[in-house]
């Protein structure tokens, strides 16, 4: 994650920046508008009678299904999920590497139009959620493992291309310029002058993608691509909460392994062990890279992927069938007004979700961060909060949406809170990591002068942590917009609900319209979020 964003400079600012105030007030207004739109100020939103149903879900957490047959089913699904994640991430890195060349500023130089267009082209694969890609690909490829791999690899590839290009553009250019001046071709100069200094960041980010791919692989199961998510959906549809929790625990364990492994690699890249001999490779990193490559090979074998499927006559025929049905997009009045109304719901849902997650993350980050020195009680509290955050992001948003619907009245709010709770799981962890990386001295100084823990946190930690946490939150906002599709697919409103109903009716023309709206909305949010982030710097 650290590779994604520029860390704001830690220069103390003693004046209030006017643009930041404008952004802050604007954000507040949008949050209030969203809450009002979701009906949060208009009477009852809570349904206290539903606590019993919610309790059934919660109490099943203590008694997950553990019978032998079910655990065997789970073990097989875990393997499928891991294989999807590994291949999806590998494909994303390959596509990202190729795409980075196409969208890097270095490639385009001063030709701004070409650069803008190529960046814009990335918005299409990036704007659609993995689950949407999965739905579309099932129609082209049928029941083939390629569906899961491509559904992760294509949107992730586009994100990776953007990040890889930024990394390449941002490394110091002295070596590159020297090679060019010495008469090397641009390719050679890039290979020897840009790639080596960027390799750490590239590697770090690749492992971060692998971590995310595990969660996405589960989401794909929800639309029928097999694996852990599929088992979760089956148990979820008859509300067998004990089995649902077993799936959630298996998923949490997978996420934990991916987090710990990915974090170890990223730490190692950020702070390499010096060995005197500068040419020696870091054995831990070499093992991680070779291990991941072996994992990719194993996944290829395990899923029995056949490249021939992609170019078979049948695939071409299906592509023609779907394209013929999906083009031209439906543009009749009622549909367009439905799309506009749903888009407003989607924006409000994502804004509430991200606001809830940000507030929660700021409050929890202090406890969740691993302090350098701490008492046993403080350590225990930290572990509990970190595990809770892990569970929040291991329960898929659609499940949150249903259980929150037990205790909230129907509308945009249950879906928004479901996304908020899920995003809190992700954002809380990022915020904790950001807090760990802060300069510890201000707080130490306050404590030395007799400040209590709360005062020390308020004046020593919070001001410095706000910047990075807000930057992460803005970045996640774009992700949340796409995730609204996921809760929408199960009926919580917004463009996702509209998409689900049009797909169910096989109304491909309308599906195209909704997809175009989704891509445009995501691109717009991306722009606003980028502007806001640059105002924060």
């Amino acid at each position: 994650m650290t590779a994604v964003l520029d860390r704001p400079p830690v220069v103390p600012r003693l004046h209030r920046a006017r643009t930041r105030w404008a952004w802050g007030l604007g954000a507040l207004a949008v949050v209030i508008w969203s809450l009002a739109g979701a009906g949060a100020f208009a009477g009852d939103v809570v349904n206290p009678a539903g606590t019993g149903q919610f309790g059934r879900f919660a109490s099943a957490a203590l008694s997950p299904a553990l019978d032998g047959a079910f655990l065997r089913v789970l073990a097989d699904s875990v393997l499928v999920t891991v294989a999807y994640a590994a291949l999806g991430a590998a494909l994303a890195v390959l596509l990202g590497a190729a795409g980075a060349v196409a969208v890097a500023r270095t490639t385009w130089g001063r030709r701004r139009l070409g650069w803008t267009l190529s960046r814009g082209a990335l918005a299409v694969p990036r704007g659609l959620h993995e689950a949407v890609w999965g739905l579309l690909l099932v129609n082209l490829l049928g029941l083939d493992p390629w569906v899961g791999v491509l559904a992760i690899g294509v949107p992730y590839g586009a994100v990776t291309a953007k990040v890889f290009a930024d990394l390449l553009d941002e490394v110091p250019r002295s070596g590159y310029s020297a090679l060019l001046a010495a008469g090397a071709s641009r390719t050679t100069a890039a290979l020897y002058g840009l790639l080596p200094p960027a390799s750490g960041g590239l590697l770090s980010y690749s492992f971060y993608r692998l971590e995310c791919a595990v969660r996405s692989a589960v989401v794909l199961g929800l639309i029928g691509a097999g694996g852990l998510g599929y088992q979760l959906l089956l148990s979820f549809s008859s509300l067998r909460w004990e089995q649902v929790w077993s799936c959630v625990y298996a998923l949490a364990l997978l996420c934990l392994l991916a987090d710990v492994g990915g974090r170890a690699v990223r730490r190692r890249v950020a702070a390499p062990r010096s060995s005197g001999d500068r040419l020696r490779r870091d054995p831990a990193l070499t093992t991680a890279v070779l291990g991941s490559l072996a994992g990719v090979v194993w996944s290829w074998w395990y899923l029995a992927i056949s490249p021939a499927t992609l170019v078979s006559d049948r695939t071409g025929e299906q592509l023609r069938y779907v394209l013929a049905a999906a083009w031209p997009p439906d543009v009749d009045g009622p549909l367009l007004s439905a799309v506009a109304a749903a888009a407003v719901d989607t924006v409000q849902m994502s804004v509430i979700a991200i606001a809830v997650a940000t507030v929660g993350a700021v409050l929890l980050a202090g406890v969740a961060a691993r302090p350098a020195r701490a008492s046993a009680g403080r350590r225990l509290a930290g572990t509990v909060v970190r595990l809770a955050l892990l569970l929040l992001r291991a329960v898929p948003p659609p499940v949150w949406a249903l259980v929150l619907l037990f205790v909230l009245l129907p509308g945009v709010l249950p879906g928004a809170l479901a996304l908020g709770v899920y995003t809190l799981g992700v954002l809380g962890r990022l915020a904790a990591e950001a807090t760990e990386e802060l300069d510890p001295r201000p707080r130490a100084a306050l404590t030395a002068m007799g400040a209590g823990p709360v005062g020390g946190w308020l004046y020593g930690v919070l001001p410095a942590a706000t910047g990075p946490v807000l930057a992460f939150a803005l970045y996640r906002w774009e992700v949340a917009i796409r995730d609204t599709v996921l809760v929408g697919l199960l009926g919580a409103g917004g463009l996702g609900a509209l998409l689900a109903s049009r797909v169910a009716a096989f109304d491909w023309g309308a599906v195209t319209t909704v997809l175009v709206a989704l891509v445009l909305l995501t691109a717009a949010v991306d722009l606003v979020s980028a502007r806001a982030r640059s105002a924060l710097r």
Binding site: G50, L143, S237, S238, L239, V297, I305, F406, F506
Partner: protein, 316 residues
């Protein structure tokens, strides 16, 4: 030799080893690729079977306890395989939309469809024919349920439901959406009305729980699921009660693709019908499908569903 080349290319001795490692790695990838050709994927059927017997790919998404059938699918495949002398492969699918598309593309030969999804699949796959239905499917019914907090007592008039927060089941469910919407509109209740718009809980069990919680004040689901949940005690009669029952309609059926008939001979529909109707009472397969017996069916049984589907914009 290799180290000499390495020196010439300006590298260190260490690189030779890496190159060997790289070659070994590539060989492993290649070997795996080859091995993959002879392996069945855990997530999909491998396509056409090479055995001397023909092969049939079967899919089903039952709306009651889907996890039981999906995890015990070998029961159905083994039983069919033995009776029909075919290689029967069961393909787990979760999503009706996906099942319809897979039926059209020929990935699935024989599918257990709901009334509406069966019509959608038949319209997209010319020549597909309905084979069999369960005894209960020719007189299927849905029940409207209400939260006890509404104070409503069982009645035939659906009018009062129009003012309640109301949820259907899954969007394309025949018994949880399509036919109830039709009967509501027959009694003058706008099926897309309701305060705040109707919800889609996603499953029959979720409908019961949501109405019991009071988040939705009323809902509708398949009577078979309702009965079995009342019998096994999952329904709290103090929280949710039956309000009304719909008239009868046709629902689930087995649909056979024309491709399979072409491949396995024109007598395939007959052989399948014979197999399904010949299952002895109490057979494991019948129990998995919650049926007393399978009986024949025909396309005209679903004409009403098609008409309603067109009215609701679910068939275009």
């Amino acid at each position: 030799m290799s180290s000499r080349r390495a020196v010439r290319s300006g590298g260190f001795g260490e690189h030779a080893l890496n190159r060997r490692g790289f070659l070994a790695g590539s060989a492993a990838v290649l070997a795996a690729g080859l091995a993959a050709c002879s392996r069945d994927s855990p997530v999909s059927s491998s396509g056409g079977s090479t055995g001397s017997r023909g092969s049939l790919t079967v899919g089903a998404i039952p709306d009651q306890d889907p996890e039981v059938l999906q995890r015990l699918y070998s029961t159905l495949a083994d039983s069919m395989s033995a009776a029909l002398d075919l290689d029967v492969e069961y393909q787990p699918v979760t999503d009706y939309g996906a099942a319809v598309s897979l039926f059209r593309t020929g990935d699935l030969d024989l599918v257990w469809f709901g009334g509406l999804t069966g019509v959608q699949a038949r319209l997209q796959t010319p020549g597909a024919e309905p084979i069999a239905q369960r005894d209960i499917d020719e007189s299927f019914t849905s029940v409207f349920i209400v939260n006890t907090g509404t104070g409503l007592t069982p009645a035939d008039d659906l009018g009062p439901l129009g003012d309640l927060r109301f949820t259907y089941g899954s969007e394309t469910s025949t018994s949880g959406r399509l036919m109830p919407a039709f009967f509501l509109s027959e009694q003058g209740v706008d099926p897309q009305g309701f305060p705040g718009g109707p919800g889609f809980s996603g499953s029959h069990d979720a409908t019961i729980s949501l109405v019991a919680s009071g988040s939705y004040q009323a809902g509708v689901l398949n009577e078979q699921v309702w009965r079995s949940r009342v019998e096994d005690g999952t329904v709290d009669p103090a929280a949710v009660v039956q309000y009304a029952r719909t008239p009868e309609y046709h629902d689930y059926h087995w649909l056979l693709s024309p491709e399979a008939v072409e491949r396995l001979g024109p007598d395939l529909p007959e052989r399948l019908l014979e197999y399904f109707t010949g299952l002895p009472a109490g057979d494991e397969v019948l129990e998995l499908f919650g049926a007393g017996a399978f009986i024949p069916t025909e396309a005209s049984n679903y004409d009403q569903i098609e008409a309603v589907g067109r009215d609701l914009g679910l068939i275009s």
